[in-house]
């Protein structure tokens, strides 16, 4: 690999450089994927633009909305005290990635922009109805994460645009999240399937007001299992409802067979993990109420 290295010191400068270099340039965040891909010769940018000196990109702010700067590391998510409660899936999604060495540098923005179908933190963000902010030559634009992920390795990010942050609304009371990952072993493994779930119950705790189910490694992109989500609306949070959601999600997914698992096994995992993740959400809501 051979390239020129740049360190823009403001977002405006990063955008300017990104636009000037076009397809010859790549933004560098944690580098846990980009540097590996460059060494394998799969991508050969002539200009690498490190975003580390751009102020504010590694910040987490919480005020009704949670904003994660693009350079927030998995380590920072794992350890954030405010994510131990209703947003627990953020911790659970972050702590299963790589080893400490990778989590200390790998970023949320990198995980999103990389657009791996098997991304771990992205399903969690999808389950939170997250929105991304991209800053480009024409200014900033916000778009739903859901529409941002276009295909394997492909996003709606335009040339020269920097993914600046991702944000989502704080969860109301009687809400919980859960993340489950199936891998061939516990650490350092790409997901065979992963599932993020979010549940909000009514005041009495007897009906599902809102449910979100997002899947990884079960289709060409991480995606929301919408038929399963719809089936839960207004239902009592009971085993039968969660089991049915699992079946619907399994019917909705489009997994492939590869070295890690067969498509049939992946669909089976989706069914079981969706059920389990929803049950876990319900347990957590009950646990927080008692």
């Amino acid at each position: 690999m051979s390239f020129e290295y740049h360190e823009p010191t403001s977002l405006a400068e990063a955008v300017e450089m990104g636009s000037a270099f076009g397809v010859d340039g790549r933004f560098l965040a944690g580098g846990t994927d980009l540097i590996v891909q460059m060494r394998r010769g799969r991508v050969s940018p002539r200009h690498v633009l490190s975003l580390h000196r751009v102020p504010g990109l590694d910040g987490i702010t919480i005020d009704g909305t949670v904003r994660l700067g693009a350079l927030v590391t998995h380590r920072a998510l794992e350890r954030h005290a405010d994510f131990r409660g209703r947003l627990r899936a953020l911790v659970e999604g972050a702590e299963v990635i790589g080893g400490h060495q990778v989590r200390n540098v790998a970023t949320v923005g990198g995980n999103i922009v990389n657009a791996s179908p098997a991304a771990d933190i992205v399903p969690v963000l999808l389950s939170l109805d997250a929105e991304v902010t991209c800053v480009g030559p024409e200014g900033a634009r916000a778009l739903p994460l859901d529409g941002f992920l276009v295909g394997p390795g492909q996003t709606a990010r335009r040339p020269g645009e920097v993914l600046e942050s991702v944000r989502f609304a704080s969860l109301p009371p009687r809400s919980a999240t859960a993340f489950l990952k199936a891998g061939r072993r516990k650490a350092m493994e790409i997901s065979v399937v992963c599932v993020a779930a979010r549940l909000t119950l009514d005041e009495a705790g007897e009906r599902c007001v809102e449910a979100r189910i997002a899947l990884g490694a079960a289709a060409p992109t991480t995606f929301r299992a919408r038929s399963a989500e719809r089936a839960l609306a207004g239902r009592a949070p009971v085993v039968e409802a969660f089991r049915e959601a699992g079946r619907l999600a399994a019917a909705e997914c489009r997994p492939i067979s590869d070295v890690r698992a067969s498509a049939a096994y992946r669909a089976h995992l989706v069914e079981r993990l969706v059920h389990r993740a929803l049950s876990r959400c319900a347990e957590r809501i009950r646990g927080a109420a008692s």
Partner: protein, 158 residues
Amino acid sequence: MKIALELTINGERHEVTADPQRSLLDVLRFDLGLTGTKENCLEAECGVCTVLLDDRAVNACILLAAQCQGRRVLTIEGLARDGERHPLQQAFIDHGAVQCGYCIPAMILSAKAYLDEHPGPTEAEVREALAGNLCRCTGYQKITEAVLAAARVMRGER
């Protein structure tokens, strides 16, 4: 175009001029001759290149040296103080935790980063802390025992 870097490595300031594509691992091993940090998979899978960057364990193989400008790096060569082994080094020797030895410098540095933040880990926590470091000889049992023993020493329980 080469880049001029200033790095603090094992407490000493170094000025290095490197091509932008050079990794921190390249600079440590080939420019500075610090070969205690090993090279293997070059894809952040095996962990043998682990060093501490501002006290945090990182894979030096996928970190550009340029990204480390102005930062502190600790390698295995910097762990002993005044000729005295770090408790982790001593515990690895005492517990027979070393076989071929290739993974050990990184194993010790990962353990150090973890113990510095978590002085009283359980066995399961030690195993999790070392999940990013592969060893193909030992089966990890003696490594885990050595880390737990070192933790006791570091807590002053000896």
